[in-house]
């Protein structure tokens, strides 16, 4: 479902990703850990089709993100690291309907999907609030809702609970773990607790580099994340 092979990305002299190889099968929710600056966000941006790899390639559902970015983007939803990217004078609903239109969803289908996404609690109030007055939690919910528009099978989430209070974070964890059961997801986090709550597998970016095979055995703390959820 998500695959990278010998994926490298440099910014000038600085090599951020060095031969990253990763494979995520359908239905897996993988937490990606690593220190700041290790390339987690860069990996997600490459997978989202926003950055070209310097070498190697990545595939979403078998589609190369380097060669067919539009087709790949149609199969994924991306939650970026920043909460910006919305039109400040417009409500959450208006913003989401715009992005749904851009994604090619017919208006009626867009409205139907928005109704379904109300399950994401902070979204309820975010829908009617102009984005400029939305709280961080609302903005985060809008980012997630935007990624879910069009019901893409793959989700890429960059620190999805970064600016949430503990209660809201727990709600989002529950949503990620149960509401997205049919999705394949790769999410970046700094929290081992979050990883163990939401992921079916945890990988460290350093273990994926230089063509080494991906972290086959998760660290002991993450051995049975499903158990935590149960």
């Amino acid at each position: 479902m998500i695959r990278t092979r010998a994926l490298s990305r440099s910014f000038g002299e600085k090599k951020v990703l060095a031969g990253t190889t990763l494979e995520i099968v359908r239905g897996e929710r993988v937490a990606l850990l690593g220190p700041n600056g290790s390339g987690k966000t860069t990996l997600l941006r490459v997978l989202a089709g926003l950055l070209m790899p310097s070498s190697g390639d990545a595939w979403i559902d078998g589609i190369s993100v380097a060669r067919e970015p539009l087709r790949a983007k149609a199969r994924l939803g991306y939650v970026p690291a920043s909460e910006s990217g919305f039109f400040p004078r417009f409500t959450g609903r208006e913003n989401l309907l715009f992005f749904a239109g851009l994604r090619g969803l017919p208006p009626r289908e867009s409205l139907r999907q928005l109704e379904r996404l109300r399950a994401l609690k902070p979204l309820e109030s975010a829908l009617e609030t102009p984005f400029q007055f939305a709280s961080s939690g609302m903005k985060q919910a809008l980012c997630l809702a935007r990624a879910l528009l069009g019901d893409p099978p793959v989700l890429l989430l960059d620190e999805p609970t970064r600016s949430l209070d503990p209660e809201a974070a727990l709600e989002l964890h529950a949503f990620l773990a149960t509401g997205l059961a049919d999705k394949t997801a790769l999410f970046v986090t700094h929290s081992t607790e979050e990883a163990s709550r939401c992921a079916t597998r945890v990988v460290r970016l350093s273990d994926l580099q230089l063509d080494r095979s991906q972290a086959s055995a998760p660290p002991p703390a993450f051995e049975s994340p499903q158990g935590v959820l149960a």
Binding site: R9, K73, P80, F98, R103
Partner: protein
């Protein structure tokens, strides 16, 4: 994309006219411009060889609203989108970057065409600007025929902004210079020979101005619209593909280089 287009049109309206006071300000500014044109025309009328100087100024101003909006305004929209992060959010969607720019540019057009109509209408209402009823349609047709050419120029300008990360002010100067040299405010006959040549070279601007003035003053048979119309379209055939290619290259470069869109 229709929903996205109407949203961006509403965004443009809301950004420009967030309050009734802003609308009043726009009307006031328009009225002030017309007043300046009327008195300038009155002062210089005896020495102006081209007929009614007020009409000359009025048509020059109104004709270039939409073309200049595409040339400068699209680049401005791109810069604002980059700064608010909406450009990247749009690029993360499965839609080609050039389509995003076309929608951004298209959202400017109804407002600029309405401003042009309002300018001419106020000119007629307050200062006796006379335009034959049949000429309104011709003027609108000319604007539509010129769209591809100016869309192309706007795409070229925006891709330059994306490529270099700066230059919006320069594009503003270029647009203003193009308008002046093309004869928006005075006939190009008074220009030095080299500038006159440049005016001819800036053909989409001068071609649109000349044809519009001819249509407005009645010295224009409907059939003769074909030739300048075809010339305007030919400019579109030239600039639109060039603009689309430039945009494609600019976005491909941004994706390759990995620099965020920092446009100052």
């Amino acid at each position: 994309m229709t929903g996205a287009y109407s949203f961006l049109l509403r965004r443009e309206l809301r950004d420009r006219y967030p309050t009734r006071l802003a609308i009043a300000g726009e009307l006031l500014g328009l009225g002030a411009s017309l007043l300046v044109y009327a008195y300038t025309a009155r002062a210089f009328a005896p020495r102006f060889q081209g007929g009614d100087y007020f009409s000359y100024l009025l048509i020059g101003e109104a004709t270039l609203f939409a073309p200049l909006a595409l040339f400068n305004g699209l680049a401005r929209s791109v810069r604002l989108s980059a700064q608010t992060g909406t450009l990247e959010a749009m690029l993360a969607q499965p839609v080609a970057p050039w389509r995003i720019l076309l929608v951004l540019g298209g959202a400017l057009l109804p407002i600029e065409l309405a401003r042009a109509l309002l300018t001419l209408g106020l000119g007629a209402l307050l200062f006796g600007f006379a335009l034959a009823p049949s000429a309104w349609g011709t003027l609108l047709s000319l604007q539509l025929l010129a769209l591809p050419a100016f869309f192309g120029l706007g795409l070229l300008a925006s891709s330059a902004l994306l490529r270099f990360g700066r230059g919006e002010a320069m594009l503003g100067y270029l647009g203003a210079a193009a308008a002046i040299v093309a004869g928006a405010y005075f006939p190009t006959d008074v220009l030095p020979a080299q500038l006159k040549e440049l005016a001819a070279w800036l053909s989409p601007f001068s071609l649109l101005l000349e044809t519009t003035r001819a249509a407005a003053t009645g010295g224009f048979e409907p059939g003769t619209l074909l030739r300048p119309g075809a010339a305007l379209l030919a400019w579109g055939v030239l600039t639109l593909p060039a603009g689309l290619l430039a945009v494609k290259l600019a976005f491909a470069r941004a994706r390759r280089v990995g620099a965020p869109f920092l446009i100052t």
